[in-house]
Symmetry: C2
Subunit: 399 residues, 2 copies
Amino acid sequence: MHETAAILLSLFVIFVAAQIGAEIAQRVKLPGVVGEIAAGCVIGPSALGWITAEQIVPGTPLEVLAEIGVVLLLFSVGIETRLADLKKVGRSAFLVGVLGVIVPFVAGSLWAHHHGFAWNKSLFVAAAFVATSAGITARVLQELGALQRIESRVILGAAVIDDILAMLLLGVVTSLQVGGGVKIGSLLFVLAQAIGFVAIIGWVGTKAMRRGSHWLDQPINPLSPLTITLAICLGLAFLSTEFGLAAIIGAFLAGMIASERPRREELEHQMQPLLAFLTPFFFVLTGAKIDLSVFANTEALWMLAVVTVIAVISKFVGGYLGSMSLGRNGAAIVGVGMVPRGEVGVVIASLGLASGVFSNQTYAVIVAMSLLTSIITPPVLAVLLKRSAEPAAPVANPE
Amino acid sequence: MHETAAILLSLFVIFVAAQIGAEIAQRVKLPGVVGEIAAGCVIGPSALGWITAEQIVPGTPLEVLAEIGVVLLLFSVGIETRLADLKKVGRSAFLVGVLGVIVPFVAGSLWAHHHGFAWNKSLFVAAAFVATSAGITARVLQELGALQRIESRVILGAAVIDDILAMLLLGVVTSLQVGGGVKIGSLLFVLAQAIGFVAIIGWVGTKAMRRGSHWLDQPINPLSPLTITLAICLGLAFLSTEFGLAAIIGAFLAGMIASERPRREELEHQMQPLLAFLTPFFFVLTGAKIDLSVFANTEALWMLAVVTVIAVISKFVGGYLGSMSLGRNGAAIVGVGMVPRGEVGVVIASLGLASGVFSNQTYAVIVAMSLLTSIITPPVLAVLLKRSAEPAAPVANPE
């Protein structure tokens, strides 16, 4: 019974902190998500300690709730994104995804090598600069009602491509680091699998839903369209991890499939309370993972500043170059939207620490950089989106 | 990342099993909750093993999700229950609560003593016969749209009183069992605390909400009435565990407070997707805890049959006697509605096993009895409710 009490208290503290943080942020015209992350930072282990470090390691109940929260978030973003719309921006999304991986990877490797890492280890460090985490940007786009904008579609499409490439890259640098050669054949196989997964689920799923969505209403349960699509969401989130991709990619695809349902507004509406209850756990825990003690050490602080600047600029440049067809402002929105690294950078940093590539300080800096990019992005993105409140300046042919 | 994949797979399996179970149950005119519990039994450790025994011990992510599910369920039941309506049935609810504790406790003690337990241990065994678990009945009442019936209010009011008495009783039998005397003074203090908690929260909370519900709409977040009342729900669920009560009592009180809000239909509506997503975890896990191997042993099976009959009849009689003012059918509904013991009996049985009062077999039987009562109740309750589909036969003065 004591365990129940402890977890209920944590849930209460996290949920209330999120509400207060979001409210304050919105009062000062910042996206609510900034307040939720900041609230996590305040109540987290490195400040007030109301959430302890043991509570936020993978597999704990709070982490699972956070994971469910971000999975449902990307699912609901998927519901607002139709495959047809995504296909229209396919070329831009592809360019953004590819350049948004290459530029930070090159920049990261150069920095790491300059910093004294051997080349094989530098490539590993650079991998932590690469993967965009779509959760933060998706939340800002949704909060500001901007998911129907062309830039949002480019960002979401690019996030899928980014995740596939990051997964491949991680495979390559891991085998280089342990001294193994890179087997092009097995890499191509992994790539083909991932692309096949996304393509088949995306294509076949949306087609099936378009033709047969009436069976969603067959069950007795009046909420069955919601429960069936939620089941698909959980199933695809799991499946995408089996293909080496992030769970949120599968959730996003599931949402996109559900968006083919004629009455998709109903689903969007029903997702609101679920998001309101569950996503705060993700953002508060993201904030709670920021180790504020990094900021107390001048050397580390300086390294953090350099690393963060490189991470932000390189990703921005990649995204901007890939989406120049959207015009300057559009390209800037896409570039900024790709900046957050979030938990993906944290995962790679943990691998680096575990395998002895990173020192504790490098680890802390990489983690702090990943999370800092998540904090920096929302306000900038909000300003850019509001400055061009109209759907992107008319572009004759976005491709 | 592997942990994430494993938990996503479990979530998917549980959620899908719940949907299939509920659908089948409803097709054969049983309440959906029966199907969810049965589904849990099928995929649980003692049958298919798709959920393992380690995944359903307290503090695991699945258990926490289940706990959140039942907390939200009782919260939403509270939203449909106004304090004023509850007060009208106060006398019946009190009688049902008190008799529903005394009769099973006496019957349970007699059985245990007859079965060879010393008196102090018999009282401990009997404690496992006592506590009604409101979750199952609440779900059936909600599923059948019967929460506005007078019998439902009596059951819900009685569940609160039942929980207070069961908590006290557990304190008494525990100290008797470890050989300590019963300190009337400290018992009265515990009782006063619990009653004080319920009364103050109920009274002051509803009054405050009636006068000041406009501040729920003050925050920027358009979903703020929902998020604020959810925060109150988590907070009171935690607080009630601090007073020795079940978390669901606090959640129910929170819902009752929220029901004083003028636009409470909006909250009821918003709770639907949350319940659809989260409550299946509670009911599937309830089913998964049933150890089917008990049924393979003739002696244990016989003992289980006797214990279950005693548990069902004694609780039914207590509830029936306490609510005779509702007429025969009404009293029968209340009597049946109080029968499920659910996880409360399981908790007491675990304490008994840990302290050496119970053998493994007695433990398994008590747990199976607690869960069997939860499976038996919904279909019977559904039949009784449908037989008298009109709001209880006109009673001049229910008090």
